[in-house]
Subunit: 121 residues, 2 copies
């Protein structure tokens, strides 16, 4: 099952193309994840699927620590639910504070876009 050879990154300095994409996503993932959960409560695989369908790649090793951080910051709550096919799932929902934070992030994103557009002229 685990057949990822992963022979790339011969030279850590030279992965500029992929690295830049990764760096640009930094800090925006939190916004994206809150966006997806805001629509309806979701568990980890839901989130990964939705982000992937929007061409945003996220892996488990990134998502789980991030969800934990958001929960510790009181932006999310979770509840266990049984699954009909597999182990139980941890569904996340936004708290009041999470909704407020999401509003702030919307504005931050909007301002950031404006700044970039200003620089493009």
């Amino acid at each position: 099952m685990k057949e990822n050879i992963s022979e790339n990154n011969e030279n850590p300095k030279e992965n500029s193309s992929e690295n830049q994409k990764s760096q640009m996503r930094k800090g925006i993932l939190e916004y994206c994840i809150l966006l997806t959960i805001a629509k309806e409560k979701k568990y980890a695989s839901d989130i990964i699927r939705e982000l992937k369908s929007a061409d945003l790649i996220v892996v488990e090793g990134t998502l789980y620590p991030l969800l934990s951080r958001l929960r510790q910051s009181d932006l999310l709550t979770h509840s266990w639910e049984e699954s009909q096919s597999g182990p139980p799932r941890k569904y996340y929902e936004l708290t009041k504070r999470g909704q407020e934070t999401l509003s702030a992030l919307r504005q931050t994103w909007s301002e950031l876009s404006k700044s970039i557009n200003r620089l493009l002229k």
Copy 2:
């Protein structure tokens, strides 16, 4: 002259509002800096001024290491020029590779914006 008391960040965990803005800027700064230099050659204070006028705050401690990284990655070259009022200035210009990278970053930013818009629906 140095009178910044800076008594904030009582609790490192609680600076969420400012921290999120900072995190969102991560990885985008490189794009912004290349954008400003692409117009015409600039030295550090020029860059800070232009970004500030676009509502993007950058400080020296961030900029200088970043410029060094870009130079080591062969995206920038620099040349010294005398100033009529003060010490000499280090002017940066894009290399061929820097222009190519900037094109790639334009596209990355465009894709990222599209992804966010897809999530907003």
